[in-house]
Symmetry: C2
């Protein structure tokens, strides 16, 4: 009996291994498409992605795998094999509900649509992209119907990215957050103490921006022999394996802070990927828990760490040295306020910590309506502009800075946006705990020593992969379930001080 | 009956399509490994390559494919489907003879061995690499035994790269070439008119080298929206599809000519890949005919074109301008002689057109002995050094400039080297014909107009893919079978003049 269990586990792991490898290959091709592939390579790449996605789907849905999973589901297993069975069963049961033709069509359509979106955004031409979005939406609604997760089609898609999360929970959390974020934003806008924005302006060499970004990544503990940093239109992190983690950013000569915070953000994701235990590579449990937890790592490094006063005590003189002469007349205090300026703005990825949540809630609202069939693609741009007016009291003057700004929908990533805001909540709750565990954390960061924090995150989060759920992880770390108050308190304290709201 | 044939062809093309896509994915991963992958990424990449190779093998050997091929083999087919059946049948029949375990082991071993070779070459440590080479050799001999092409194990491997070529033919060609190349080399070495080598020395910025190389590629007609140029330790060309063709080179600040001729060489391969008809992408017939024909395209551009006086009439002033001041005192005549200097040297990829053939014949001789079981890996370095003495009268002082210099064996590419020399023969015969077809060819090249030549090569060779064999192609172009005299005459005339051998 014991040896039978062992041979079932062996069969499971061999199949899991192959699935991991196929998925990693798919991710490599996507990374290549974003960073390296020549312009005309798209159509054939789409066919490759479609063929591989179909293969992955065939293997994931194999009856043999289903049987092994079924038999192991009641066995008494150790932590890692148990997590592997749980996760693979989840994936298998979803995949068997999806017809292979749909999987192929989605892979090919989104690969082609992405290229259309790039051009449409350049030309600010929503009409050029909308037929593609209609097709994607139709396929995603079909996918959600096949998955049969609950009465809500949207919930079926959300579950890909934040397993176990319910629309009802999100609705409640976001209903609570929205008025508080709006109120904080309005108080900040009304404050007479506003940052000097111009001090960040100038001409900053891309080579020096990159070099400074690499220094910060090194200090964060990013392992260069197991990773890279490249350029792409939209920054991202690809974890091809724990020993091959690739970050991207984009540079603007006028604005070093945008690329720098993108690098640090993606670096946070990268540390999670590099922190997964390579001994378990191939197991479906050797992966990030959820996109919300993943995002907590990027946001924690980007915001709680790299937008803090302590961080810049160490790094500001180095930044001044990097851009010799260009920031000499800027004080650390003014710099800190400028990189933490809050304003109602059009572009999500450049939004501050306060208004960011409003961007996310607005997208969540729109995409939920689309997926549930309550909003047509042809009405999307009008709805977008009306939402911007309602949430942030500004209106985009063109599609590029409005409805076309994000890549997600072109890639079929519907249900993904809310994980960004969950990431902010998790980050605040985790960092609150980190400060309790390390009373000297601020001094460490101020002295340039980021190692204790990274090691603690590695021990508490990264190395466990999916052996624990998001819900249990946050309870184990902080002693309670996910709360919005840590995030709201953090914002209140930080921006209250910067903008003198309580003076 | 007719519609049955159509549905068989449809089934064939769908399967062929998938095989092409898998092979293209494999090539993308290999390109990435050479150019982009971080150092520690190797072991997991090896597993990906192994899994995909096994998948490719499974699909290529599927009984269903075999049956479709069998039934179509006697059907009356148009040119392209006929070629597709012929080529896929060839691949299928070979593949069914290879056990999947062997295919997997070869893919994984060569992927790992390549990384070992890189380090071993850096450290000039053949002992570190030789256990890997022993394993590769054992696997390749096993592969050759399974393939059962003829009595010669080597011929089975050669057939991968130069379909239809026989060891006996190569032995005859090379027996004829070797004494003539040796004699020409000796006459050149004895000539009092020797080039001024030092004129090519200096410090040449890598950015300017790259920029000049890109100008030449553009003039050759390389399509940048369907291709790239990157760096790798060993220059190569990857044709991921006719619309995604990637070249690599390596730069030395001390020597611009090495990277430049590598760029032009790979550019010649790249034009072949871009010249394949994208409408037929997916068909097994939409591929280079053989490595010998492929190499003829790279060598023709590198040597017949870019080492000619006509070429530099146009490009030399531009080169002088690129490296402002550094080549001002060099005459075109001295420059031409310097880039065509002939000498017995240690490194094949830097060898001149005369001694290059001797490097190839020597490797052919050694690898044939190894594959046939007449030479052990443990004796290889001694045999290498003895051969160098015998063929070129020089002896490497370490493994890096000797037995470890080439990447091929680390990648399991045994039987590949002879195609380099065949490429030289084909190139000379094809270029001889081009000059007959275009009496004004030299003037065109001298005026910087490379378009007529590229278009003619495209019409005569590139666009046909594998619808014609190498043997028939050369007959169709030149009216006769492959000869060694065109190559020998070309060398005799060119180097006779440069070195004043007939004065």
């Amino acid at each position: 009996m014991h040896s039978q269990k062992q041979s079932l586990i062996q069969s499971l792991m061999a199949q899991a291994q192959e699935l991991t490898e196929l998925r990693s290959v798919l991710e490599t091709l996507q990374w290549d498409q974003e960073t390296m592939m020549p312009a005309l390579g798209g159509p054939f790449r789409a066919r490759q992605l479609s063929a591989l996605s179909a293969l992955h789907h065939q293997k994931l849905t194999s009856p043999d795998l289903g049987e092994v999973l079924e038999r192991l589901s009641t066995a008494d297993l150790d932590l890692w094999p148990r997590a592997a069975v749980r996760e693979l069963r989840r994936q298998h049961e979803k995949a068997v509900r999806l017809p292979e033709a749909l999987v192929r069509e989605l892979a090919e359509t989104t690969s082609l649509a992405h290229a259309v979106w790039v051009t449409a955004r350049q030309k600010s031409d929503f009409a050029a992209f909308s037929p593609w979005l209609e097709k994607i939406l139709r396929l995603k609604r079909e996918e959600a119907r096949c998955l049969q997760v609950s009465d809500s089609l949207y919930e079926a898609l959300l579950d890909h990215y934040e397993p176990g999360m319910r629309v009802r929970e999100l609705d409640e959390l976001f209903a609570l957050l929205r008025p508080k974020l709006t109120s904080l934003l309005q108080r900040i806008q009304a404050s007479p103490r506003q940052p000097k924005r111009d001090i960040l302006k100038g001409e900053f060499s891309v080579a020096q921006q990159e070099s400074f970004g690499r220094s910060v990544l090194s200090a964060m503990g990013f392992q260069w022999e197991a990773g890279r940093l490249d350029r792409s239109p939209h920054p991202f992190c690809s974890g091809l394996s724990p020993l091959d983690v690739r970050l991207t950013t984009r540079y603007s000569e006028q604005d070093f802070s945008s690329s720098l915070f993108a690098i640090i953000h993606e670096g946070g994701h990268g540390l999670y990927e590099q922190g997964l235990n390579p001994e378990h590579y191939g197991s479906p449990a050797c992966d990030g828990i959820s996109l919300g937890i993943h995002e907590s790592q990027s946001r924690l490094w980007e915001n709680q760490v790299a937008r803090s006063g302590a961080f810049w005590e160490h790094w500001f003189p180095r930044l001044q040295q990097t851009f010799a002469g260009q920031l000499d007349s800027v004080s650390l205090k003014d710099f800190l306020h400028a990189i933490n300026r809050v304003e109602a703005s059009l572009i999500r990825v450049e939004a501050d910590e306060v208004s960011y949540g409003l961007h996310v809630i607005m997208r969540y609202d729109l995409e939920k309506q689309m997926v549930e069939g309550d909003l047509e693609v042809q009405d999307l741009e009008t709805a977008w502009n009306a939402s911007m007016k309602e949430y942030l009291d500004i209106v985009p003057s063109n599609s590029a800075e409005g409805v076309l700004q994000d890549t997600h929908w072109s890639q079929g990533l519907m249900g993904y946006f809310p994980t960004y805001l969950l990431g902010n909540l998790y980050a605040a709750q985790i960092f609150h705990q980190a400060k309790k565990v390390f009373p000297g954390l601020e001094e460490d960061i101020g002295g340039g020593n980021l190692t204790p924090l990274r090691e603690w995150l590695g021990e508490e989060i990264h190395r466990h992969g999916k052996t624990i759920s998001a819900q249990k992880l946050i309870e184990r770390i902080s002693g309670e379930a996910l709360q919005s108050n840590y995030f709201l308190d953090y914002l209140e304290q930080k921006f209250g001080q910067l903008y003198g709201l309580n003076d």
